[in-house]
Protein backbone atom coordinates (compact mmCIF):
# COMPACT_ATOMS: atom_id res chain seq x y z
CA UNK A 1 0.00 0.00 0.00
CA UNK A 2 1.23 3.46 -0.80
CA UNK A 3 2.82 5.21 2.16
CA UNK A 4 1.35 8.47 3.42
CA UNK A 5 2.06 11.19 0.91
CA UNK A 6 3.67 13.66 3.29
CA UNK A 7 4.15 16.81 1.24
CA UNK A 8 5.29 20.41 1.24
CA UNK A 9 5.74 23.43 -0.99
CA UNK A 10 8.85 25.63 -1.32
CA UNK A 11 8.28 29.00 -2.98
CA UNK A 12 10.93 31.40 -4.25
CA UNK A 13 9.37 34.86 -4.33
CA UNK A 14 10.25 37.63 -6.75
CA UNK A 15 11.72 40.65 -4.98
CA UNK A 16 12.11 44.25 -6.09
CA UNK A 17 13.34 47.28 -4.16
CA UNK A 18 12.18 50.73 -5.20
CA UNK A 19 13.04 54.22 -4.12
CA UNK A 20 16.10 53.24 -2.13
CA UNK A 21 19.14 55.45 -2.47
CA UNK A 22 21.30 52.81 -0.90
CA UNK A 23 22.51 50.52 -3.68
CA UNK A 24 23.33 47.71 -1.32
CA UNK A 25 19.70 47.52 -0.20
CA UNK A 26 18.62 47.21 -3.83
CA UNK A 27 20.74 44.12 -4.27
CA UNK A 28 18.21 41.26 -4.16
CA UNK A 29 20.32 39.12 -1.83
CA UNK A 30 20.59 41.96 0.67
CA UNK A 31 16.97 42.92 0.22
CA UNK A 32 15.90 39.32 0.84
CA UNK A 33 18.01 39.18 4.00
CA UNK A 34 16.56 42.48 5.16
CA UNK A 35 13.05 41.22 4.51
CA UNK A 36 13.52 38.03 6.52
CA UNK A 37 15.45 39.65 9.36
CA UNK A 38 12.82 42.37 9.70
CA UNK A 39 10.17 39.68 10.15
CA UNK A 40 12.25 37.70 12.62
CA UNK A 41 13.18 40.78 14.61
CA UNK A 42 9.52 41.51 15.18
CA UNK A 43 8.33 37.97 15.57
CA UNK A 44 10.92 35.72 17.09
CA UNK A 45 14.58 35.17 17.77
CA UNK A 46 16.53 33.93 14.79
CA UNK A 47 17.29 30.26 15.24
CA UNK A 48 19.93 29.33 12.78
CA UNK A 49 19.33 26.60 10.25
CA UNK A 50 21.78 23.80 10.91
CA UNK A 51 23.73 23.75 7.71
CA UNK A 52 26.86 22.19 9.22
CA UNK A 53 27.19 25.69 10.55
CA UNK A 54 29.51 26.76 13.33
CA UNK A 55 27.70 29.64 14.90
CA UNK A 56 24.31 29.54 16.50
CA UNK A 57 22.34 32.53 15.33
CA UNK A 58 20.66 34.19 18.23
CA UNK A 59 20.01 37.87 18.09
CA UNK A 60 18.08 40.55 19.87
CA UNK A 61 14.93 42.38 18.91
CA UNK A 62 14.64 45.98 17.91
CA UNK A 63 16.78 46.04 14.79
CA UNK A 64 17.59 49.18 12.92
CA UNK A 65 18.31 48.92 9.21
CA UNK A 66 22.03 49.34 9.86
CA UNK A 67 22.00 46.47 12.31
CA UNK A 68 20.28 44.31 9.78
CA UNK A 69 22.95 45.20 7.23
CA UNK A 70 25.81 44.53 9.65
CA UNK A 71 28.70 42.58 8.11
CA UNK A 72 27.76 39.46 10.02
CA UNK A 73 24.35 39.44 8.38
CA UNK A 74 25.67 40.21 4.93
CA UNK A 75 28.15 37.39 4.90
CA UNK A 76 25.85 34.80 6.39
CA UNK A 77 22.91 34.12 4.13
CA UNK A 78 19.85 34.33 6.32
CA UNK A 79 18.50 30.89 6.98
CA UNK A 80 15.90 30.60 9.71
CA UNK A 81 13.39 28.12 11.01
CA UNK A 82 10.02 29.39 12.18
CA UNK A 83 7.75 28.29 15.02
CA UNK A 84 5.33 26.81 12.49
CA UNK A 85 8.10 24.44 11.41
CA UNK A 86 8.77 26.23 8.12
CA UNK A 87 12.13 27.35 6.80
CA UNK A 88 12.52 31.00 5.75
CA UNK A 89 15.74 31.80 3.91
CA UNK A 90 17.56 33.45 1.06
CA UNK A 91 18.04 31.22 -1.95
CA UNK A 92 19.67 32.41 -5.17
CA UNK A 93 18.75 36.06 -4.59
CA UNK A 94 15.16 35.32 -3.64
CA UNK A 95 13.41 35.08 -0.30
CA UNK A 96 12.12 31.54 -0.02
CA UNK A 97 9.75 29.76 2.32
CA UNK A 98 9.55 25.99 2.59
CA UNK A 99 6.34 25.00 4.31
CA UNK A 100 6.59 22.48 7.13
CA UNK A 101 5.90 18.85 6.29
CA UNK A 102 2.17 18.33 5.80
CA UNK A 103 0.17 15.13 5.90
CA UNK A 104 -2.37 16.22 3.30
CA UNK A 105 -2.76 18.63 0.41
CA UNK A 106 -5.27 20.58 2.51
CA UNK A 107 -2.61 21.27 5.13
CA UNK A 108 -0.15 22.14 2.37
CA UNK A 109 -2.66 24.72 1.09
CA UNK A 110 -3.08 26.27 4.54
CA UNK A 111 0.67 26.47 5.13
CA UNK A 112 1.30 27.80 1.61
CA UNK A 113 -1.22 30.57 2.33
CA UNK A 114 0.45 31.15 5.69
CA UNK A 115 3.76 31.56 3.84
CA UNK A 116 2.17 34.30 1.72
CA UNK A 117 0.98 36.05 4.85
CA UNK A 118 4.43 35.76 6.40
CA UNK A 119 5.92 37.46 3.34
CA UNK A 120 3.25 40.17 3.53
CA UNK A 121 4.08 40.79 7.18
CA UNK A 122 7.75 40.84 6.29
CA UNK A 123 7.10 43.54 3.70
CA UNK A 124 5.27 45.58 6.34
CA UNK A 125 8.05 45.02 8.87
CA UNK A 126 10.77 46.10 6.45
CA UNK A 127 8.73 49.13 5.41
CA UNK A 128 8.86 50.32 9.04
CA UNK A 129 12.66 50.29 8.80
CA UNK A 130 13.32 51.78 5.39
CA UNK A 131 13.44 55.53 4.74
CA UNK A 132 10.29 57.13 3.33
CA UNK A 133 9.78 56.45 -0.34
CA UNK A 134 11.61 53.16 -0.32
CA UNK A 135 9.68 49.91 -0.56
CA UNK A 136 10.27 46.22 -1.04
CA UNK A 137 7.87 44.42 -3.39
CA UNK A 138 7.42 40.67 -3.45
CA UNK A 139 5.67 38.57 -6.05
CA UNK A 140 4.47 34.98 -5.88
CA UNK A 141 5.37 34.19 -9.50
CA UNK A 142 8.00 32.34 -11.51
CA UNK A 143 9.57 34.65 -14.07
CA UNK A 144 10.41 38.26 -14.79
CA UNK A 145 9.42 37.99 -18.44
CA UNK A 146 13.05 38.46 -19.44
CA UNK A 147 14.23 34.87 -19.36
CA UNK A 148 14.93 34.57 -15.65
CA UNK A 149 12.89 31.97 -13.79
CA UNK A 150 12.58 30.88 -10.17
CA UNK A 151 10.62 28.04 -8.74
CA UNK A 152 7.68 26.86 -6.75
CA UNK A 153 8.70 23.34 -5.81
CA UNK A 154 6.63 20.54 -4.38
CA UNK A 155 7.88 17.65 -2.30
CA UNK A 156 6.25 14.24 -1.86
CA UNK A 157 7.17 11.26 0.27
CA UNK A 158 7.42 8.07 -1.76
CA UNK A 159 8.57 4.59 -0.74
CA UNK A 160 12.26 4.07 -1.55
CA UNK A 161 11.59 0.64 -3.03
CA UNK A 162 9.67 2.12 -5.96
CA UNK A 163 12.10 2.05 -8.91
CA UNK A 164 12.95 5.62 -9.82
CA UNK A 165 12.61 4.84 -13.52
CA UNK A 166 8.95 3.94 -12.97
CA UNK A 167 8.39 7.27 -11.28
CA UNK A 168 10.07 9.15 -14.14
CA UNK A 169 8.11 7.42 -16.88
CA UNK A 170 4.73 7.49 -15.22
CA UNK A 171 4.67 10.90 -13.55
CA UNK A 172 5.88 12.79 -16.62
CA UNK A 173 2.57 12.74 -18.53
CA UNK A 174 0.91 14.31 -15.47
CA UNK A 175 3.66 16.92 -15.04
CA UNK A 176 3.37 17.88 -18.72
CA UNK A 177 -0.44 17.99 -18.89
CA UNK A 178 -1.51 19.23 -15.44
CA UNK A 179 -0.81 22.84 -16.45
CA UNK A 180 -4.28 23.00 -18.08
CA UNK A 181 -5.61 22.78 -14.51
CA UNK A 182 -2.87 24.39 -12.42
CA UNK A 183 -0.97 26.67 -14.82
CA UNK A 184 -0.70 30.25 -13.54
CA UNK A 185 -0.72 31.83 -17.00
CA UNK A 186 1.84 34.17 -18.55
CA UNK A 187 1.73 37.12 -20.90
CA UNK A 188 4.38 36.58 -23.54
CA UNK A 189 6.98 33.97 -24.27
CA UNK A 190 10.49 33.26 -23.01
CA UNK A 191 11.36 30.39 -25.27
CA UNK A 192 14.41 31.03 -27.42
CA UNK A 193 13.28 31.51 -31.01
CA UNK A 194 9.67 32.42 -30.26
CA UNK A 195 8.43 35.93 -29.66
CA UNK A 196 5.69 37.36 -27.51
CA UNK A 197 3.80 38.37 -30.64
CA UNK A 198 3.68 34.70 -31.67
CA UNK A 199 2.70 33.63 -28.17
CA UNK A 200 0.89 36.54 -26.53
CA UNK A 201 -0.39 34.39 -23.67
CA UNK A 202 0.31 30.88 -22.44
CA UNK A 203 -0.91 28.51 -19.75
CA UNK A 204 2.26 28.17 -17.70
CA UNK A 205 4.88 30.50 -16.22
CA UNK A 206 7.51 27.77 -16.23
CA UNK A 207 6.97 25.68 -19.37
CA UNK A 208 9.39 27.72 -21.53
CA UNK A 209 12.25 26.87 -19.20
CA UNK A 210 12.18 23.09 -19.38
CA UNK A 211 14.81 21.57 -21.62
CA UNK A 212 15.38 18.03 -20.32
CA UNK A 213 13.22 15.05 -19.42
CA UNK A 214 15.14 14.09 -16.30
CA UNK A 215 18.16 15.44 -14.48
CA UNK A 216 19.77 16.95 -11.43
CA UNK A 217 19.86 20.61 -12.48
CA UNK A 218 17.45 23.16 -11.10
CA UNK A 219 18.79 26.49 -12.36
CA UNK A 220 19.51 25.79 -16.02
CA UNK A 221 18.62 23.04 -18.52
CA UNK A 222 15.76 22.38 -16.16
CA UNK A 223 14.42 18.81 -16.19
CA UNK A 224 10.74 17.90 -16.04
CA UNK A 225 11.62 15.28 -13.45
CA UNK A 226 14.31 16.32 -10.98
CA UNK A 227 16.56 13.58 -9.66
CA UNK A 228 17.70 15.34 -6.48
CA UNK A 229 17.98 12.66 -3.83
CA UNK A 230 18.13 14.33 -0.45
CA UNK A 231 15.34 12.63 1.48
CA UNK A 232 15.98 14.45 4.79
CA UNK A 233 14.64 11.30 6.43
CA UNK A 234 15.45 7.60 6.55
CA UNK A 235 16.98 7.01 3.11
CA UNK A 236 16.44 3.25 3.30
CA UNK A 237 12.69 3.63 3.60
CA UNK A 238 11.88 6.89 1.86
CA UNK A 239 12.41 9.00 -1.17
CA UNK A 240 11.50 12.66 -1.29
CA UNK A 241 10.40 13.44 -4.83
CA UNK A 242 11.44 17.04 -5.48
CA UNK A 243 9.22 18.58 -8.16
CA UNK A 244 10.37 21.76 -9.92
CA UNK A 245 8.06 21.89 -12.90
CA UNK A 246 5.07 23.68 -11.36
CA UNK A 247 3.90 27.27 -11.22
CA UNK A 248 3.23 29.20 -8.02
CA UNK A 249 -0.54 29.53 -7.70
CA UNK A 250 -2.62 32.39 -6.38
CA UNK A 251 -5.82 30.30 -6.66
CA UNK A 252 -6.33 28.17 -3.55
CA UNK A 253 -8.25 25.61 -5.61
CA UNK A 254 -5.28 25.31 -7.95
CA UNK A 255 -2.82 24.82 -5.07
CA UNK A 256 -5.04 22.15 -3.52
CA UNK A 257 -5.54 20.26 -6.78
CA UNK A 258 -1.91 20.67 -7.81
CA UNK A 259 -0.63 18.97 -4.67
CA UNK A 260 -3.60 16.65 -4.13
CA UNK A 261 -3.83 15.25 -7.66
CA UNK A 262 -0.06 14.79 -7.88
CA UNK A 263 -0.04 12.95 -4.55
CA UNK A 264 -2.77 10.60 -5.79
CA UNK A 265 -0.96 9.95 -9.09
CA UNK A 266 2.22 9.15 -7.11
CA UNK A 267 0.25 6.77 -4.89
CA UNK A 268 -0.97 4.95 -8.00
CA UNK A 269 2.61 4.74 -9.28
CA UNK A 270 3.76 3.44 -5.91
CA UNK A 271 1.09 0.73 -5.98
CA UNK A 272 1.97 0.06 -9.63
CA UNK A 273 -1.55 0.45 -10.97
CA UNK A 274 -1.04 3.39 -13.33
CA UNK A 275 0.69 1.74 -16.27
CA UNK A 276 2.92 3.11 -19.02
CA UNK A 277 0.47 3.73 -21.81
CA UNK A 278 0.22 7.49 -21.28
CA UNK A 279 3.94 8.01 -21.86
CA UNK A 280 4.79 10.86 -24.22
CA UNK A 281 7.09 10.55 -27.22
CA UNK A 282 8.70 13.93 -26.53
CA UNK A 283 7.80 15.42 -23.16
CA UNK A 284 10.09 18.45 -23.54
CA UNK A 285 8.44 19.48 -26.81
CA UNK A 286 4.99 18.71 -25.41
CA UNK A 287 5.27 20.85 -22.32
CA UNK A 288 5.62 24.07 -24.29
CA UNK A 289 3.27 22.94 -27.07
CA UNK A 290 0.57 22.49 -24.48
CA UNK A 291 1.42 25.74 -22.70
CA UNK A 292 1.24 27.77 -25.93
CA UNK A 293 -2.10 26.33 -27.02
CA UNK A 294 -5.02 28.25 -25.53
CA UNK A 295 -7.59 26.22 -27.49
CA UNK A 296 -6.71 23.18 -25.35
CA UNK A 297 -7.17 21.15 -28.53
CA UNK A 298 -3.58 20.60 -29.60
CA UNK A 299 -2.63 16.92 -29.48
CA UNK A 300 0.76 15.60 -28.47
CA UNK A 301 2.33 12.35 -29.57
CA UNK A 302 2.42 9.42 -27.18
CA UNK A 303 5.13 6.76 -27.17
CA UNK A 304 2.61 4.23 -28.48
CA UNK A 305 1.90 6.33 -31.58
CA UNK A 306 -1.47 7.66 -30.47
CA UNK A 307 -2.16 11.36 -29.99
CA UNK A 308 -3.93 13.01 -27.09
CA UNK A 309 -4.72 16.48 -25.83
CA UNK A 310 -3.60 17.56 -22.38
CA UNK A 311 -7.22 17.42 -21.27
CA UNK A 312 -7.51 13.83 -22.49
CA UNK A 313 -4.38 12.89 -20.55
CA UNK A 314 -5.77 14.52 -17.42
CA UNK A 315 -9.12 12.74 -17.88
CA UNK A 316 -7.28 9.44 -18.14
CA UNK A 317 -5.37 10.16 -14.94
CA UNK A 318 -8.53 11.22 -13.13
CA UNK A 319 -10.41 8.14 -14.24
CA UNK A 320 -7.63 5.88 -13.03
CA UNK A 321 -7.56 7.83 -9.77
CA UNK A 322 -11.30 7.18 -9.33
CA UNK A 323 -10.70 3.48 -9.93
CA UNK A 324 -7.83 3.56 -7.44
CA UNK A 325 -10.07 5.24 -4.88
CA UNK A 326 -12.47 2.30 -5.18
CA UNK A 327 -9.84 -0.44 -5.18
CA UNK A 328 -7.27 0.89 -2.70
CA UNK A 329 -8.87 3.83 -0.94
CA UNK A 330 -7.22 7.23 -0.57
CA UNK A 331 -6.06 7.01 3.06
CA UNK A 332 -2.49 7.75 1.99
CA UNK A 333 -3.54 11.28 0.97
CA UNK A 334 -6.36 11.62 3.50
CA UNK A 335 -9.61 9.98 2.41
CA UNK A 336 -11.69 13.17 2.74
CA UNK A 337 -9.06 15.37 1.15
CA UNK A 338 -8.62 12.86 -1.67
CA UNK A 339 -12.34 12.83 -2.37
CA UNK A 340 -12.45 16.62 -2.34
CA UNK A 341 -9.48 16.82 -4.72
CA UNK A 342 -11.00 14.35 -7.16
CA UNK A 343 -14.27 16.31 -7.16
CA UNK A 344 -12.53 19.61 -7.84
CA UNK A 345 -10.25 18.09 -10.46
CA UNK A 346 -13.21 16.60 -12.31
CA UNK A 347 -15.20 19.81 -12.13
CA UNK A 348 -12.32 21.82 -13.57
CA UNK A 349 -11.72 19.39 -16.45
CA UNK A 350 -15.42 19.40 -17.31
CA UNK A 351 -15.52 23.18 -17.12
CA UNK A 352 -12.43 23.61 -19.31
CA UNK A 353 -14.00 21.39 -21.90
CA UNK A 354 -17.37 23.08 -21.93
CA UNK A 355 -16.30 26.70 -21.54
CA UNK A 356 -12.96 27.65 -19.95
CA UNK A 357 -14.23 30.93 -18.55
CA UNK A 358 -16.62 28.90 -16.41
CA UNK A 359 -13.66 27.95 -14.19
CA UNK A 360 -12.23 31.45 -13.88
CA UNK A 361 -12.97 31.23 -10.15
CA UNK A 362 -10.66 28.24 -9.77
CA UNK A 363 -7.99 28.22 -12.49
CA UNK A 364 -5.28 30.91 -12.40
CA UNK A 365 -4.48 30.98 -16.13
CA UNK A 366 -8.16 31.35 -16.99
CA UNK A 367 -8.68 34.17 -14.48
CA UNK A 368 -5.57 35.96 -15.70
CA UNK A 369 -6.37 35.52 -19.38
CA UNK A 370 -9.89 36.87 -18.90
CA UNK A 371 -8.52 39.96 -17.25
CA UNK A 372 -5.76 40.51 -19.82
CA UNK A 373 -8.08 40.01 -22.79
CA UNK A 374 -10.85 42.19 -21.34
CA UNK A 375 -8.36 44.98 -20.61
CA UNK A 376 -6.81 44.69 -24.06
CA UNK A 377 -10.26 44.86 -25.67
CA UNK A 378 -11.34 47.89 -23.65
CA UNK A 379 -8.14 49.82 -24.31
CA UNK A 380 -7.44 48.45 -27.77
CA UNK A 381 -4.03 47.30 -26.59
CA UNK A 382 -1.60 45.32 -28.74
CA UNK A 383 -0.39 41.95 -27.40
CA UNK A 384 2.99 43.47 -26.54
CA UNK A 385 1.52 46.47 -24.68
CA UNK A 386 3.42 46.89 -21.40
CA UNK A 387 0.17 47.26 -19.48
CA UNK A 388 -0.72 43.65 -20.26
CA UNK A 389 2.59 42.43 -18.86
CA UNK A 390 2.05 44.70 -15.87
CA UNK A 391 -1.29 42.96 -15.29
CA UNK A 392 0.50 39.59 -15.43
CA UNK A 393 3.05 40.73 -12.83
CA UNK A 394 0.51 42.42 -10.60
CA UNK A 395 -1.69 39.34 -10.58
CA UNK A 396 1.01 37.92 -8.30
CA UNK A 397 1.83 41.11 -6.34
CA UNK A 398 1.79 40.35 -2.62
CA UNK A 399 0.80 43.90 -1.67
CA UNK A 400 -2.82 43.32 -0.66
CA UNK A 401 -3.99 46.62 -2.15
CA UNK A 402 -2.31 45.93 -5.51
CA UNK A 403 -2.75 42.19 -5.94
CA UNK A 404 -5.00 41.52 -8.93
CA UNK A 405 -5.54 37.86 -8.01
CA UNK A 406 -7.41 39.07 -4.93
CA UNK A 407 -9.86 40.95 -7.14
CA UNK A 408 -10.81 38.45 -9.85
CA UNK A 409 -13.28 36.38 -7.84
CA UNK A 410 -11.15 33.34 -7.06
CA UNK A 411 -12.70 30.89 -4.60
CA UNK A 412 -11.13 30.69 -1.17
CA UNK A 413 -10.99 27.25 0.40
CA UNK A 414 -8.83 27.79 3.48
CA UNK A 415 -10.31 29.20 6.66
CA UNK A 416 -8.55 32.54 7.30
CA UNK A 417 -8.34 31.69 11.01
CA UNK A 418 -6.49 28.46 10.14
CA UNK A 419 -4.14 30.42 7.88
CA UNK A 420 -3.49 32.94 10.65
CA UNK A 421 -2.72 30.13 13.13
CA UNK A 422 -0.49 28.38 10.61
CA UNK A 423 1.82 31.39 10.49
CA UNK A 424 3.06 30.53 13.99
CA UNK A 425 1.78 27.07 14.86
CA UNK A 426 3.03 23.88 13.24
CA UNK A 427 0.94 21.10 11.69
CA UNK A 428 -0.05 18.52 14.28
CA UNK A 429 0.34 15.40 12.19
CA UNK A 430 4.00 15.36 11.14
CA UNK A 431 7.43 15.81 12.77
CA UNK A 432 7.08 19.55 12.08
CA UNK A 433 4.99 19.59 15.24
CA UNK A 434 7.97 18.64 17.41
CA UNK A 435 10.19 21.16 15.65
CA UNK A 436 7.72 24.05 15.91
CA UNK A 437 6.65 23.40 19.51
CA UNK A 438 10.23 23.13 20.77
CA UNK A 439 11.20 26.31 18.97
CA UNK A 440 8.25 28.19 20.42
CA UNK A 441 8.70 26.91 23.96
CA UNK A 442 12.50 27.00 24.21
CA UNK A 443 13.78 29.54 21.70
CA UNK A 444 16.91 30.20 23.72
CA UNK A 445 17.83 26.54 24.00
CA UNK A 446 17.37 25.37 20.43
CA UNK A 447 20.78 25.96 18.99
CA UNK A 448 20.00 24.76 15.49
CA UNK A 449 17.39 22.87 13.55
CA UNK A 450 16.84 21.35 10.16
CA UNK A 451 14.40 18.94 8.58
CA UNK A 452 15.74 15.78 10.19
CA UNK A 453 17.26 16.89 13.49
CA UNK A 454 17.32 19.50 16.23
CA UNK A 455 20.16 20.53 18.48
CA UNK A 456 19.44 21.56 22.07
CA UNK A 457 21.52 23.31 24.65
CA UNK A 458 20.67 21.50 27.88
CA UNK A 459 22.76 23.78 30.05
CA UNK A 460 25.97 21.83 29.98
CA UNK A 461 28.21 20.21 27.40
CA UNK A 462 27.74 18.49 25.09
CA UNK A 463 24.96 19.94 22.94
CA UNK A 464 22.29 17.31 22.34
CA UNK A 465 21.22 16.41 18.82
CA UNK A 466 17.81 14.77 18.44
CA UNK A 467 17.46 12.93 15.13
CA UNK A 468 14.08 13.14 13.43
CA UNK A 469 14.41 10.65 10.62
CA UNK A 470 10.73 9.68 10.55
CA UNK A 471 8.42 12.31 9.05
CA UNK A 472 5.44 10.89 10.92
CA UNK A 473 7.03 10.71 14.37
CA UNK A 474 6.95 13.71 16.62
CA UNK A 475 3.29 14.46 15.99
CA UNK A 476 0.99 16.09 18.52
CA UNK A 477 -0.45 12.71 19.36
CA UNK A 478 2.92 11.35 20.42
CA UNK A 479 4.76 14.36 21.90
CA UNK A 480 2.31 17.13 22.79
CA UNK A 481 1.94 16.02 26.38
CA UNK A 482 5.66 15.36 26.74
CA UNK A 483 6.41 18.88 25.61
CA UNK A 484 3.63 20.41 27.71
CA UNK A 485 4.84 18.65 30.84
CA UNK A 486 8.55 19.36 30.40
CA UNK A 487 9.87 22.61 31.80
CA UNK A 488 13.26 22.36 30.13
CA UNK A 489 14.76 20.66 27.08
CA UNK A 490 16.86 18.56 29.47
CA UNK A 491 13.65 17.22 30.97
CA UNK A 492 12.17 16.64 27.53
CA UNK A 493 15.20 14.70 26.40
CA UNK A 494 15.20 12.64 29.56
CA UNK A 495 11.57 11.73 28.92
CA UNK A 496 12.30 10.93 25.30
CA UNK A 497 14.93 8.57 26.55
CA UNK A 498 17.48 10.31 24.43
Amino acid sequence: MAIPKVCGIETEYGILVRGANNDSISNPVTASSLLINAYLAERQRRIHWDFHDEHPGVDARGFQVDDLLAPEVESTLVNAVLTNGARYYVDHAHPEISTPECLTARDALVFDRAAEEIVRESMAAVARLLPAGAEVLCHKNNSDGKGNSYGCHENYLVAREVPFSRIVHQITPHFVSRQVVVGAGKVGCEMPGRTSLEVPFQLSQRADFFEEEVGLETTLKRPIVNTRDEPHCDPMKYRRLHVIVGDANMSETATLVKVGATAIVLAMIEDDVLGDDLELANPVAAISQISHDLTLRRTVLLRNGQRATALELQWQLLERARKYERSHGLECVGADVGAEVLGLWEGILAGLEREPDSVAHQVDWVAKRRLVQAYAARHDARPDDARLKAIDLQYHDLRADRCLALRVGLDTLADPADVRDAMTQPPTTTRAYFRGRCLAKWPNDVVAANWDSMVFDVGRDPLRRVPMMEPLRGTAESVARLIDESDTPAELLARLGA
Partner: protein, 64 residues
Protein backbone atom coordinates in the same frame (compact mmCIF):
# COMPACT_ATOMS: atom_id res chain seq x y z
CA UNK B 1 -20.15 18.68 -9.69
CA UNK B 2 -19.30 15.12 -8.81
CA UNK B 3 -22.41 13.86 -10.58
CA UNK B 4 -21.15 15.00 -13.96
CA UNK B 5 -20.74 12.24 -16.55
CA UNK B 6 -17.20 11.01 -16.90
CA UNK B 7 -15.39 11.24 -20.18
CA UNK B 8 -13.32 8.53 -21.78
CA UNK B 9 -11.77 10.25 -24.78
CA UNK B 10 -13.77 13.36 -25.51
CA UNK B 11 -14.05 14.40 -29.19
CA UNK B 12 -12.89 17.96 -29.81
CA UNK B 13 -15.94 19.24 -31.70
CA UNK B 14 -18.79 17.90 -29.62
CA UNK B 15 -22.18 19.51 -29.57
CA UNK B 16 -23.20 20.78 -26.22
CA UNK B 17 -24.13 18.00 -23.86
CA UNK B 18 -27.08 17.94 -21.53
CA UNK B 19 -26.11 18.41 -17.94
CA UNK B 20 -28.13 18.08 -14.81
CA UNK B 21 -27.07 21.46 -13.50
CA UNK B 22 -27.82 24.46 -15.70
CA UNK B 23 -28.38 27.88 -14.07
CA UNK B 24 -25.56 27.70 -11.46
CA UNK B 25 -22.98 28.13 -14.22
CA UNK B 26 -24.90 30.98 -15.82
CA UNK B 27 -25.46 32.71 -12.48
CA UNK B 28 -21.83 32.57 -11.48
CA UNK B 29 -20.90 33.61 -15.04
CA UNK B 30 -22.99 36.75 -14.70
CA UNK B 31 -21.47 37.52 -11.34
CA UNK B 32 -17.97 37.06 -12.70
CA UNK B 33 -18.71 39.32 -15.69
CA UNK B 34 -19.98 42.05 -13.37
CA UNK B 35 -16.92 41.69 -11.16
CA UNK B 36 -14.67 41.83 -14.22
CA UNK B 37 -16.30 45.05 -15.44
CA UNK B 38 -15.95 46.58 -11.98
CA UNK B 39 -12.32 45.57 -11.85
CA UNK B 40 -11.65 47.06 -15.29
CA UNK B 41 -13.21 50.30 -14.10
CA UNK B 42 -10.89 50.63 -11.16
CA UNK B 43 -7.86 48.78 -12.49
CA UNK B 44 -6.09 51.88 -13.70
CA UNK B 45 -5.90 53.03 -10.09
CA UNK B 46 -4.46 49.72 -9.05
CA UNK B 47 -2.07 49.18 -11.93
CA UNK B 48 1.37 50.69 -11.69
CA UNK B 49 1.21 54.26 -12.96
CA UNK B 50 3.97 53.80 -15.47
CA UNK B 51 3.47 50.26 -16.72
CA UNK B 52 6.33 50.43 -19.17
CA UNK B 53 8.86 51.53 -16.54
CA UNK B 54 7.56 48.98 -14.06
CA UNK B 55 7.75 46.10 -16.52
CA UNK B 56 11.19 47.18 -17.68
CA UNK B 57 12.47 47.48 -14.10
CA UNK B 58 11.10 44.08 -13.07
CA UNK B 59 14.24 41.99 -13.36
CA UNK B 60 14.96 38.93 -11.22
CA UNK B 61 17.98 36.73 -10.78
CA UNK B 62 17.44 33.18 -11.97
CA UNK B 63 16.54 30.86 -9.12
CA UNK B 64 15.71 27.19 -8.92
Amino acid sequence: MAERTQKQKPAPNRTEETTQEAPPVAASGEKLKAELDDLLDEIDDVLETNAEDFVKSYVQKGGQ
